[in-house]
């Protein structure tokens, strides 16, 4: 044997250590994912309850975000300094899902968009707003993915809240989702997954608009009832 193989041997042990670290990260991600699925299951109930119960459900989920915070804490401890981008593919989908959960619960309890500051304090993790973070963080793209999922879930809620007898919520959802969409329109998106999903938002808006149209046409919302009084001079006063 004319060649020294010790280099390859040392590389092999380095690769093995790397595999070990990835497995450890995946173990944390699996737990994290489980928490997300549980929280989504809880949030699903808002599609079938009376509107008074919705903020209570939302609050119970917001309270449980500290479980997510713990998982993120575990991840941030395992990722070495300045090596976030080496591993972030392993957890990004789960982070996106938890950001959707937070923004949905937050909307249901406050009827506005969760801000980056609020995400940071809920999750205990910084968002990389300046492209300068060296440690574990949440990316802007992850937040945006969470927001896109929010629009699709809200279009579903617009429909279901009608079924549950709440005719006002679709109007509020419509306004909110359009505001959110106008935010998205400010972005210069590349031809990536986010762009594709962004293109899908307009279908969610269309779906919500149809609900709003049906409600308005039949004068079903409380505001359209009271409005009808002004508008038609008493005809709707029943």
């Amino acid at each position: 044997m004319s060649m020294d193989l010790s280099f390859f041997e040392s590389v092999d042990s380095a690769m093995e250590a790397e595999t070990g670290r990835k497995e450890e990260i995946l173990r944390i991600v699996r737990e994290y994912d489980k928490t997300c699925r549980n929280l989504i299951a809880v949030l699903n109930r808002v599609h079938s309850v009376h509107s008074e119960e919705v903020p209570i459900i939302a609050q119970s989920v917001i309270d449980r975000i500290r479980e997510v915070k713990q998982h993120l804490e575990n991840l941030s401890q395992i990722v070495p300094y300045q090596q976030y981008y080496r591993y972030n593919d392993l957890w990004t989908r789960t982070v996106q899902s938890s950001l959707f959960i937070a923004s949905f619960a937050f909307y249901l309890s406050t009827e506005r968009l969760i801000t980056t500051n609020e995400i940071e304090s809920l999750f205990g993790v910084k968002i990389n707003l300046q492209n300068d973070l060296q440690d574990f963080h949440i990316s802007i793209e992850e937040c945006l993915h969470g927001y896109v999922t929010l629009t699709s879930e809200l279009s579903r809620l617009a429909i279901n809240s009608v079924t549950a007898g709440d005719y006002d919520r679709p109007l509020k959802i419509s306004k909110f989702v359009k505001e959110l969409y106008s935010g998205f329109q400010l972005l210069n998106l590349r031809n990536d997954l986010l762009r594709k999903r962004f293109d899908g938002i307009k279908y969610n808006i269309k779906k919500i608009e149809e609900v709003v149209y049906d409600i308005s046409l039949r004068k079903l919302s409380s505001s359209s009832k009271s409005d009808t009084v002004n508008f038609t001079g008493g005809e709707g006063d029943v």
């Binding site: 193989l5 595999t19 009827e111 492209n131 109007l171 972005l187 590349r190 709003v212 409380s222």
Partner: protein
């Protein structure tokens, strides 16, 4: 907050109800209550800052990809130059190569400014092909010069500044992928050697390729790793050289050298056609 939204909806409906009923399309929100402007503004403000941050990131990535392409094409030229060794003395090739190497290293220095701290791993995928191609080139030159496999430490030297500190990290993966590509060049070189009748050299290359392959055989490569595919190609390159050497030995005793050279070069051409996909 709740009451506030109801008010806003009232406001909208008073103003927009006529439009709604006539056109059948509902426009809710946007220009609704004036108290809500701040909420829309808040969303727009944060999305504007998202846009700036995302644009910054994409601009930087594109800058890196551009340099990466330049380095790759320059490195390919280095390899072409090195292949001319079968027709040119080593010394003139080394002279030619040295100035090109300095130019490439300058480009690496330039791009390293965008790859500091955690950004190294963020954009590593964009620069890695260039690093691999460069390693392929310098390892080929190293072999022609010394007949040895360039060590990782020796590769690192090119990525150190005057004070000896590393301006760009070469990962083990970059090194392994670059050397894996080297085997393809060595295969071509071996065939070229046979073409000009330098049989001893071809057999030496064959042995050297076997040594490299045994190094890689030690590694436990994860599934779907890009190295896996390259090892497949490496294996094929080795088999081609082995076949050519076999032809050399078995028929070498039967034919006069000139006649034999013709056969082998025909054989070699068919290999080259096959290997050109590697580009």
């Amino acid at each position: 907050m709740h009451a506030y939204h109801i008010n806003n909806d009232n406001f909208f409906l008073k103003n927009k109800m006529t439009d709604t009923l006539i056109s059948g399309v509902v426009y809710v929100g946007g220009d609704g209550g004036d108290g809500d402007v701040s909420e829309v503004e808040k969303i727009k403000n944060s999305f504007s800052s998202f846009r700036d941050a995302i644009d910054f990131h994409h601009d930087r990535r594109e800058r890196i990809i551009k340099i990466s392409r330049d380095i790759t094409s320059q490195s390919k030229k280095l390899i072409y130059t090195a292949h001319r060794i079968t027709h040119k003395p080593l010394k003139s090739i080394l002279n030619e190569v040295t100035t090109k190497r300095i130019e490439i290293i300058d480009m690496f220095k330039q791009v390293s400014l965008d790859l500091e701290g955690s950004d190294f791993h963020r954009y590593h995928k964009s620069i890695s092909p260039a690093i691999q191609e460069y390693i392929e080139a310098i390892s080929f030159i190293e072999y022609l010069q010394n007949g040895t496999l360039i060590s990782k430490e020796k590769v690192d030297i090119d990525f150190k500044d005057e004070e000896g500190s590393q301006f760009l990290i070469v990962t083990n993966e970059d090194y392994l992928l670059g050397i894996a590509d080297l085997t393809g060049e060595l295969m071509r070189h071996a065939i070229n050697c046979i073409g000009v009748g330098d049989h001893d050299r071809a057999i030496k290359i064959c042995k050297f390729l076997r040594d490299i392959k045994s190094g890689y055989d030690i590694l436990k490569i994860p599934k779907r790793d890009q190295l896996k595919k390259k090892m497949e190609i490496m294996h094929q390159s080795l088999i081609k050289v082995e076949d050519a050497c076999y032809a050399l030995i078995i028929r070498g005793s039967e034919y006069p050298k000139e006649f034999y050279q013709h056969i082998v070069s025909e054989h070699a051409k068919s290999f080259d056609v096959e290997m050109d996909i590697d580009g």
